[in-house]
Structure formats: structure tokens, C-alpha cells
């Protein structure tokens, strides 16, 4: 069948590639002029092991399965990545108890190789670290996410799929047996498709509201959780990812590394109401105190504003973390339509597994 995917982020590209591999004709409609211009390019580029997420949630299942698929994909397609491992560190007894519950959750989620290690063992791995104990996750890694998305795009085009850039979707109406999609932009017009996948990231809710007959009550609210990153001006102090014990609302300000070996810190959580990508340099102040709990050696004045991203969250401040939402025909009553809401972290890691599930939905 002819499938339209809206959004050329990592999820849209992965879904489009999977649909093309399954033999469907695939078009991606992307509102900007390039791939990955939204959520997908503004994150930590971490391949998550799947430690934290509650059992039987989509995030737990898709992250663990997606991570295995992602490592295989990187190996077979020559995408830059490094399985550097990650330490979740505890700096006092209360935190240690919390890290132990994460350890138990990780084991329930089927994450391979996780173990609790003492403070000395952690310092033997990372000499600059200050902690009384830590969870060691050898399966966590980092990835050249842009390279990954270029590889997905390449494979999509190899299979005859294509991306239409600067092509916003203005309206969608279902008249059996087709979805009639009204495109805006320079080449505006109406085209029929057999199935539609909404992978518009931050724009997913707005798109769902433009679908004729889509129940308004089934569109979840969108909460913008901005995360700011600060770069470290100097030689990196660590060679593995270092995460503090999670705080409410996020994973805490952690050490991330890119494939060039540069070290940066973030993301924090800043609740915003409108999309903007400026980093306020004053936010560095709160970073110093938080980072020094596990890295006392952080020199003054070493943090420089880097970039920021916006998490398309479904839950707000003080609420329990919402799961990914895959809204298929059973959820909203319209045939051959899948809406993807709230695909934030670990969306990059989960993308390949999520894509498989979405393509399975299209058969209905």
C-alpha cells in the first residue's frame, strides 16, 4: 500500500524505512528543508540500555529491543558509535537505596550485564569520581545520530521511498478506501494514501487536530520539557557516561560524551510554553553545584552554553512520567492511521523497534 509518514525525524525515518522494507510505497512529508531538524538532532545521542522504565511499559520494551537492533544496525551500516558504558552514581545512603531500586528495575527489564559496584571500584574506572557506590551498565553507548538518520534515509531511497521537504500537511480526510491529504507549501495539492503515520514530534498533536473526524478527546496535551546542555571547555575528565541518581522530572544533569571525545553536561529540565532554542548562560550556575556532588574537581568558569532540545512530553512538572503513546485504529476509530505522541527519551534508542510495531499496525 501507499504509506505517508509525516515528519522526517528519527522516528519518521525509521518507520518509513521499515515500511519500505516491508514492501510498501513510502513518502515522507517534512515541513522543514532537511531531515532531523527538530527533536531528533537536539539530544544526548545516547544509546540507552533501558534501566529506569517501569516493567511492561512501551518505553521499557522498545528501549531494550530497540537498543539491540540499533547496535546491529550500526555495525552493519557503518554508523559511528561507541559502547562506552555508563555509571549511575550514588553520593549518600538515600541515593544508594534509590540506585539499588534502579538496579532491580533494570534486571526486570532484561538489561544485560548490569551490576552494583562499590565506590572504590567506581573510582578505579573513573578516577575523578566521588561516590559511595554505583550501578554499572556496560550496554549503554553513544551514537552519531545524524549518521544514523542519513543511513535510514539512504536505505529508504534505495527501496524507492522519498522525502518531500518543505511540505506541511494542512488537512486529512478519510474517504474509503483512501486518506485524502491536503499538502501546503510551494507544491500544494491533494493526494490519496492508503495509510498515514503521524511522526511529527512536537507537531504531532497539532497535526492530529487537523485530521477530520479525529476525536478531540483522544489528542493528549503536549508539555514542552526543554533541556539545556553546557559544554566543558577542557580535556574530558571521564571516558564513560556518568549519571547522578535521578531526580523528579528527569535523569539529572549528567556527563555525556560525543564521538569526538568532547564532554558536556545536561540536560536539565526547564518547563516552557513556546518553542525556542536559546540557552540562557545563567542556567550554568545551578549546573556547578549539581555536578560537583559527583565531580568535586569541576573548575570554576569551565562550563559554556552549548545547545538545547525540547522533549515532547505528555506529563508535566510533579507528575509521574507518561509512557510513549502509539494511537492506532483501536484507540481512535479511524482506519489505517497511527499517531505517535510523546516520543521523547528513549525515542532515538527505541526508533527501530518502534518502527517495527508501527508497520505491524498498518496491516489492520
Amino acid at each position: 500500500m501507499e504509506v505517508l509518514v509525516v515528519g522526517a525525524g528519527v522516528v519518521g525515518l525509521a518507520v518509513a524505512r521499515a515500511a519500505a522494507l516491508a514492501g510498501h510505497g513510502v513518502t515522507i512529508a517534512e515541513i522543514t528543508g532537511g531531515i532531523a531538524n527538530g527533536v531528533s538532532s537536539r539530544n544526548s545521542e545516547v544509546i540507552h540500555a533501558g534501566l529506569y522504565y517501569p516493567t511492561d511499559t512501551l518505553r521499557a520494551r522498545l528501549c531494550v529491543r530497540g537498543r539491540r537492533m540499533l547496535y546491529d544496525f550500526c555495525a552493519s551500516h557503518g554508523v559511528g558509535h561507541r559502547k562506552c558504558g555508563k555509571l549511575v552514581v550514588a553520593t549518600n545512603d538515600a541515593e544508594l537505596a534509590k540506585v539499588e531500586t534502579i538496579m532491580a528495575q533494570a534486571e526486570r527489564n532484561g538489561v544485560e550485564g548490569v551490576e552494583m559496584i562499590g565506590g572504590n571500584a567506581a573510582r578505579a574506572m573513573e578516577a575523578e569520581l566521588s561516590c559511595i557506590g554505583a550501578l554499572w551498565s556496560p550496554e549503554t553507548g553513544i551514537i552519531d545520530s545524524h549518521g544514523f538518520m542519513l543511513a535510514l534515509w539512504g536505505e529508504l531511497e534505495d527501496r524507492g521511498g522519498m522525502i518531500a521537504f518543505e511540505t506541511p500537511v494542512e488537512r486529512m480526510t478519510y474517504k474509503a478506501p483512501h486518506w485524502h491529504v491536503q499538502f501546503g507549501g510551494r507544491d500544494s495539492g491533494v493526494m490519496p494514501f492508503d495509510a498515514v503515520v503521524n511522526a511529527a514530534g512536537l507537531g504531532a498533536q497539532a497535526l492530529a487536530r487537523r485530521i477530520e473526524g479525529y476525536p478531540a478527546g483522544k489528542v493528549p496535551r503536549l508539555v514542552l520539557g526543554k533541556g539545556n546542555y553546557f559544554g566543558f571547555a577542557g580535556r574530558p575528565a571521564f571516558s564513560r557516561l556518568i549519571y547522578p541518581t535521578p531526580i523528579d522530572g528527569g535523569l539529572g544533569v549528567h556527563v555525556t560524551l560525543d564521538l569526538a571525545g568532547r564532554m558536556r553536561f545536561g540536560p536539565d529540565v526547564e518547563w516552557i510554553t513556546e518553542e525556542n532554542y536559546a540557552v540562557d548562560p545563567r542556567r550554568a550556575d545551578s549546573f556547578y553545584a549539581r555536578i560537583r556532588t559527583y565531580w568535586p574537581g569541576l573548575p570554576d568558569g569551565s562550563l559554556v552554553p552549548d545547545y538545547c532540545g525540547i522533549r515532547p512530553k505528555l506529563s508535566g512538572q510533579g507528575e509521574s512520567q507518561a509512557d510513549f503513546m502509539i494511537a492506532g485504529p483501536q484507540a481512535h476509530g479511524l482506519p489505517h492511521l497511527v499517531n505517535l505522541f510523546g516520543i521523547e527519551s528513549p525515542g532515538l534508542t527505541s526508533s527501530l523497534a518502534l518502527a517495527e510495531d508501527v508497520v505491524a499496525y498498518l496491516k489492520d
Binding site: G33, G34, F165, R186, P305, Y307
Partner: protein, 267 residues
């Protein structure tokens, strides 16, 4: 036991000898072709009026080198190629990057590029002769137009494919337009831009040969054309060989330039 080791990753020695074998094959195949050609000509399996033996072509080549005719014509063609690349590639680079960075510039020029790109460049030659006359201008213009399109298209694509966060960081530091162009867009798009130049210079080489056949008094294209007029088939082959050699040397040269100015790009 040992089958396990064989099934695993190949030993480094094995992969090295593979590479060596590839290199030997790469040299051996043209040599073999020339040998077969030579033999076929000597034993009159092929018509030597159309396919003269490589040895006789080489003899004519040495003769032409000695008289200076070949060197002069080659240098004239190379000069036109270089000037055309500069004149076509420079503006294409600036316009392509501007189109990648700014959607309004893209909205203005994208339809123009899309509409003019498919016109066969060789079909523009009469127009170029009309505007620029029989002199150097028309030849250089033809190369420039050939280089312009692949570079402008690749520069735009290259900038649009730059990882978004690099541009975000530039904006966070209030980078000026010039800084954004010079330190983010240009280096970010450079791998793709280099591909554009490689394609463009290849097209330029084709176009310079065509342009020199009509209304020129020097250059490799002119040399091939006069060889046809005087039925000096060997001389014609010398011209063709020379163009092939220039193409090969330029590819190697551009790959080396790419290695130096885009050191972060790995194969």
C-alpha cells in the same frame, strides 16, 4: 576449534593481501587491454585505419610532445578548465550555501535552478558563441556553466544536511552571518560540496572538449577535430588519451585535496 577462528574476523594479513590483489588487478586490466589491442592490430584482426595499434599512437604522441603541439593544446584546455571552474564554482558555492541557510533565498532561486538545470549544457554552446564570441570567453563560460549546477545543488544539500545543533550553537553565541557561513555552513557542507566539484569538473571536461571542436584554434578538442578533418587517426587517439589522463589525474588530485581540507571525513 580452528573453524571458529576462520569464521571470525579475517586476519589482518589476509585483508592486506586482498588489497594488494585489488591493486594489481587495477593495474593489470588496462595493461592487458592494451596488449590485446596491440596484438589484434598487428595480426589485422581489427581495422587499423580506425583502431591503430597503441604502439603507433604512442609514437605519434612522442612526436607531438617533441614539437610542443600537445603540451600547448593541453595547457590551453587546462587553463580554460581552471578559469571556468573558478568562475562557475565560486558564485555557485556562495549561492548554494546561502540557499541552504536561508529559506527565502531558497524560495527565490530553487525554481530557477530546477528549471535551468535539465537543459543540456552542450545545447547552450551556440548561445555562448553568440554572446561571448569565438574567443576564450565562450569556452570558459561553457566550463563555468557545467561546474555551476552540481556545486550549487550540492552546497545547498550539504548545508541542509548539517546537524541542526551546530547551527543552534552558532545562534546561541550570536554568531554573525559571516561567522555562520565561514565556521559552520562551509565546513559542515564541505564533504558534499567536494562531491559537487568532482562532478562539475567532470562535466566541465566534457564541455571543454565539445566547445573547442567548434570555433576554436587551440585546445585538445580542437586537436581532435583537426585530426578528424585531416584523417590523422593516431592524433585523434592522442587527444582522447590526453583527456582520459587529465580526468584521471584530476580525480586523484581532488581526492587528495579532499583528504587535506576535510580530514574528518572517513571512507
Amino acid at each position: 576449534m580452528s573453524t571458529q577462528a576462520i569464521a571470525g574476523s579475517p586476519a589482518p594479513g589476509f585483508s592486506l593481501s586482498m588489497r594488494a590483489r585489488e591493486r594489481i588487478l587495477g593495474i593489470a586490466s588496462p595493461v592487458l587491454l592494451l596488449a590485446v589491442w596491440e596484438a589484434a592490430a598487428r595480426f589485422h584482426f581489427i581495422d587499423t585505419r580506425f583502431f591503430p595499434a597503441p604502439s603507433s599512437v604512442i609514437a605519434v604522441m612522442i612526436e607531438m610532445l617533441r614539437s610542443g603541439e600537445l603540451v600547448t593544446n593541453t595547457l590551453v584546455s587546462l587553463r580554460r578548465l581552471a578559469l571556468g571552474t573558478l568562475i562557475g564554482g565560486g558564485p555557485a558555492l556562495v549561492l548554494g550555501i546561502a540557499m541552504g541557510l536561508n529559506r527565502w533565498v531558497r524560495a527565490v532561486f530553487d525554481p530557477l535552478v530546477a528549471a535551468t538545470y535539465p537543459i543540456p549544457k552542450s545545447a547552450i554552446l551556440p548561445l555562448a558563441l553568440l554572446i561571448f564570441g569565438l574567443g576564450e570567453g565562450s569556452k570558459i563560460f561553457m566550463v563555468a556553466i557545467g561546474v555551476f549546477f552540481p556545486v550549487v545543488i550540492n552546497a545547498t544539500t550539504g548545508v541542509l544536511e548539517i546537524n541542526r545543533i551546530y547551527l543552534d550553537v552558532g545562534r546561541n553565541y550570536k554568531a554573525s552571518r559571516w561567522n555562520t557561513f565561514w565556521t559552520i555552513a562551509l565546513p559542515g557542507a564541505l564533504p558534499v560540496i567536494m562531491t559537487g566539484f568532482k562532478l562539475g569538473i567532470g562535466i566541465g571536461l566534457v564541455l571543454i572538449a565539445i566547445a573547442e571542436m567548434i570555433g576554436a584554434k587551440s585546445g585538445l578538442g580542437y586537436m581532435i577535430w583537426t585530426a578528424w578533418e585531416t584523417f590523422s587517426v593516431e592524433q585523434m587517439y592522442v587527444g582522447l588519451f590526453m583527456i582520459a589522463i587529465i580526468g584521471f589525474v584530476l580525480t586523484v588530485l581532488l581526492n587528495e585535496i579532499e583528504r587535506v581540507i576535510v580530514p574528518w571525513k572517513r571512507d
